[in-house]
């Protein structure tokens, strides 16, 4: 058995010199990294619950309070309904923005070196990791969604809208994880990445339409919100999940573009991590 499986290495490798075509390798790698992420998650689910605490607090404490005092003008929409998509985007953001830590950990543990020595193009590796972050965020978002429903948020039951929301959350997390991996490629140290992650998450969150509508923002925050991919993610989620008017094509387009830029930036820096 053993010899049959391992025998004739040269001949076997010679057959597959080229391997599958490049375009097939990308989905294959994305699938592989997503699977590994799910396997890791299945062995240790505690994080899924500890990470749910913060968004739940936002919904219960912040959301319920502001729902009562009507301080934020959300039109006909209840504030809690307005807030829930923002918190969903936020929980994805918080996971993705620290995803670069994993790549630094893999670097320190020598795993990254081995990954880079496999026939995986740099960009396919980043692509795979970005969508693995998306899967990870999605698992988290499902917990937040369930809590939202329990709190009485008027979420849609339209399966197409839910699929759209899944795609949006995945794209958003893919972009922010690329941002994180790009920073990882620059700072190369876990502690520094933690510091920078902490530094940028709140500005990203507050300079977006997650907590309040754009129209109540001061002018300069409005500008920041315009260039913040999180705003487009929230806009799309709000449109899909609670039915506000949203510019879905623009939102999808901006997020796709952001992912493309993020993958390019992170893959150009990844070799710095392997040295």
């Amino acid at each position: 058995m053993r010899s049959a499986v391992l025998a004739a290495p040269r001949a076997a490798s010679a057959d597959g010199f080229g391997g599958p075509a490049l375009w097939r390798r990308y989905p294959s790698r994305v699938g592989t990294f997503c699977l590994v992420e799910l396997q890791k998650l299945s062995h240790d689910r505690t994080e899924l619950f500890t990470r749910a605490v913060q968004p739940i607090l936002w919904l219960i404490v912040f959301g319920e309070t502001f729902n009562r005092i009507h301080a934020i003008p959300t039109g006909h929409l209840r504030y809690l309904d307005f807030l829930a998509p923002g918190i969903i985007a936020q929980s994805g953001l918080f996971i993705a923005i620290f995803y670069g830590i994993q790549i630094i950990w893999e670097r320190d543990a020598g795993v990254l070196t081995k990954l880079l020595a496999t026939p995986t193009p740099r960009s396919a590796l980043i692509f795979g990791k970005a969508f693995a972050a998306g899967i990870r965020a999605l698992a988290q978002v499902i917990v937040v969604l369930v809590v939202s429903v329990l709190l009485g948020v008027a979420l849609t039951y339209n399966p197409l809208h839910i699929l759209g929301a899944i795609a949006i959350v995945t794209l958003g997390a893919a972009f922010f994880s690329c941002l994180s991996m790009t920073i990882a490629g620059i700072v190369l140290k876990r502690d520094r990445l933690m510091g920078i992650g902490q530094m940028i998450t709140m500005p990203l969150f507050f300079a977006s339409n997650a907590l309040y509508p754009v129209k109540v923002m001061p002018g300069w925050v409005r500008v920041l919100s315009k260039v913040n991919p999180l705003s487009y993610e929230v806009d799309a989620l709000r449109g899909l999940l609670v039915g506000t008017s949203a510019n879905l094509w623009l939102d999808f387009g901006v997020l796709l573009l952001a992912v493309a830029v993020g993958v390019t930036a992170a893959s150009s820096l990844i070799d710095r991590l392997s040295r």
Partner: protein
């Protein structure tokens, strides 16, 4: 190319010509010519900082080639890095497994990354685990493995691709003697069964003498002596060891760490610590 045609080509497994690599002002590899024949177990020996790891990272495409040429089974590392990676199984110096996955998941991960066809994947993964005597532990999280088991798991990850060339960078560093023997036994068995080419680095001279068909002694970025262990030692006298050959050809000792880059020493210590 058909498998048969590939077999018939008289190519060296690895061929390095005039290879130089600098990190800033420091020449880690300083003009290396080296040929590893097909089917050989070839040992690259030298103290920390000799340039062994840098040379290996040039062969497996992890570092860009600055000067000279390196080819693996006739494939140029700069021109066809993907083809070269497909031919290699690589076990780095550090213990590098995903502790949050089981042993089997770790091997399956690499089977996918090497594009092992879906229909063969399970059999190949099981075969690699079995060859490394890890079948019973395959369902356990790799984080619970001992140092020797982790090394064998890494070998299984490298073997699942059926590499033409297995590259082992200090495979027994930090392992206790029993675990070390376990790793070498597996490598010997494999080689007996598959005839695969093995390139390894080590600074354990006794191991190299016992296991390698040919060795090259490396010091300060250069190859100082090359040949079969017998050839090299015979030149010095009946009781000479590779350690003596090394001292003779470099004037230094293998235990001399003073030339080792700080980063490499740190990495070695970290590996040793993780192994307890």
């Amino acid at each position: 190319m058909t498998a048969a045609a590939f077999e018939e080509q008289p190519l060296a497994a690895v061929s390095c010509r005039g290879v130089r690599h600098r990190f800033g002002d420091h020449a880690a590899v300083d003009g290396v010519d080296l040929t590893v024949g097909r089917g050989e177990v070839f040992g690259l020996l030298g103290p920390n900082g000799a340039g062994k790891t840098t040379l290996i990272r040039l062969m497996n495409t992890l570092l860009p080639l600055q000067e000279g040429s390196v080819s693996v089974f006739g494939r140029d590392v700069s021109r066809s890095p993907m083809a070269v990676r497909r031919l290699l199984g690589y076990v780095p110096q550090q213990l590098s497994i995903e502790a949050a996955l089981t042993g089997r998941e770790n091997v399956m991960w690499f089977a996918r990354l090497f594009d092992v066809p879906r229909a063969e994947r399970r059999a190949r993964v099981d075969g690699a685990l079995e060859a490394m005597a890890l079948t019973d532990a395959a369902g356990r999280l790799a984080g619970t493995y001992s140092g020797g088991m982790v090394r064998r798991l890494e070998l299984a990850q490298a073997l699942v691709n059926r590499p033409a060339l297995l590259v082992l960078d200090e495979p027994t560093i930090g392992l206790d003697p029993i675990a070390r023997d376990g790793v070498w036994e597996r490598v010997e068995e494999l080689r007996g069964e598959t005839g695969m080419t093995v390139l390894l680095t080590t600074h354990y001279m006794e191991e190299a003498e016992a296991l390698c068909d040919r060795v090259a002694l490396m010091h300060l970025g250069r190859i100082r002596a090359e040949g079969t262990p017998d050839e090299l030692t015979a030149a010095l006298g009946p009781d000479a060891t590779l350690e003596d050959v090394f001292r003779h050809s470099t004037g230094g000792s293998l235990d001399d760490d003073s030339k080792g880059g700080l980063r490499e020493i740190r990495r070695t210590r970290r590996t040793a610590r993780r192994l307890g």
